[in-house]
Symmetry: C2
Subunit: 245 residues, 2 copies
């Protein structure tokens, strides 16, 4: 690309605009390819600028661009979890999971590479960003379960249950990508919601505080919602197990 | 260390013995420290040999030593999952989890560093070893659920459920290490077993094949076992939810 041909375009954008433009192109590339398969030349070509220009805005090169793109994607992902604290818990969880799974769908290869690790751009800083998103997701769930929980959240048993469910959601997302996005997003979402209810009820079985808020949450669930469907389908599975009671 | 002082020891060990000795020392170091905090000098000092001698047996240096140690630890971990296919399913699962959690306990810092990623020794090869252990654990569980499953295992729904439960176990192990190994290993094991039962029953609710084998598995569970305890504790939590049936 000749400098004559691109120079006018350089002047048209402010520093912030140019930075944002490069970031948007980087995000687009990192979303659909493993980071090791994205070069600074790719970002420059995608944005229609020269490689030195990319370096002028991101002197740390690909590593810096990846971290800034990840920071931006993480903030976007955290927005997915924002949901008003009204209505049945599973309705709120379903809406948040819909947005999360759409994010996974739209960032497939990048999401997979990030969570599977082993890339040269993976550092303690990128791991910290991923952990921050997980922590944010857990805190949102604590607040939905009981708005009265303080910043420290619930007791260790419920905290472990929520955090392990989040790990299960991540694993399910990766399996979903590996299996060509089967089943449909809505079915995967319903399974994850039902698993959450199963984990919550199991945790409630050993913790009076969790039992109290689980009873309260079940009370406002709808018969035709995911918990009602689960309850009716579980009955024939467990009806032969009366000897356990 | 002078070559005079160590030369006789070099001659006493065969090539295989020396290699094994170095590996044992490397395993001991990698178990209790993140790999980035273990140097080849540490391995040499621990084994009482010179650094060049370590290089003679492991020309690839720390990277090779880490991969060989990880391979050995992975094989050891896979042994933890071997369990006869008799008796209640949760008894078998409890025994395998006891051995797994003991392994986590004994390899705490190394286990944490490996699963949290971000180390320079982490590569596609080390990731493949970790994935191989996960796959092996899943295959053991499929075989225990139904010995008639072929090499391809059960349908996609149960496969996803088992694999996400394994991810939840890994996450719980990391949280357990972060929280100073609280609760006691036996309590954590019981929670994980109960979560497995909850996931299995939830999966059975949407899959006739899984429903059939879950009913069969519940039939041989004992009243004083983990499923009996779970069933009796869950009843008061869900009894107010009759409107969902």
């Amino acid at each position: 690309m000749s400098s004559n041909g691109t120079a006018p375009a350089y002047r048209r954008l402010s520093v912030d605009e140019r930075r944002t433009q490069l970031l948007v192109h980087a995000l687009g590339l990192f979303a659909h390819r493993p980071p090791d398969e994205v070069s600074l030349d790719d970002v420059a070509a995608s944005a229609g600028v020269s490689r030195p220009l990319v370096y002028r805005y991101f002197p740390g090169g690909k590593q810096q661009l990846y971290e800034v793109a990840l920071r931006s994607a993480a903030d976007q992902l955290k927005q997915c979890f924002a949901e008003p604290c009204t209505g049945p818990l599973t309705t709120r969880l379903s809406r948040a999971l819909d947005r999360y799974l759409l994010f996974v769908d739209e960032h497939d290869a990048g999401f997979k590479a990030l969570l599977q690790g082993g890339s040269v751009v993976e550092t303690s800083r990128t791991n910290a960003i991923v952990d921050e998103v997980r922590r944010h997701a857990a805190e949102e769930i604590y607040a939905h379960l009981n708005p009265a929980y303080g910043p420290s959240g619930p007791g260790p048993r419920l905290r472990m249950a929520v955090r392990t469910w989040i790990a299960a959601v991540e694993a399910a997302s990766l399996i979903w990508l590996d299996e060509g996005k089967q089943p449909a997003l809505e079915e995967l979402r319903d399974r994850l919601v039902q698993q959450f209810v199963a984990v919550l009820v199991t945790t409630a079985a050993g913790d009076p505080d969790v039992a109290r808020l689980t009873r309260k949450a079940l009370h406002v669930e709808k018969r035709d919602g995911p918990v009602g469907q689960l309850a009716r389908s579980v009955l024939p599975v467990v009806e032969g197990a009366a000897h356990l009671l």
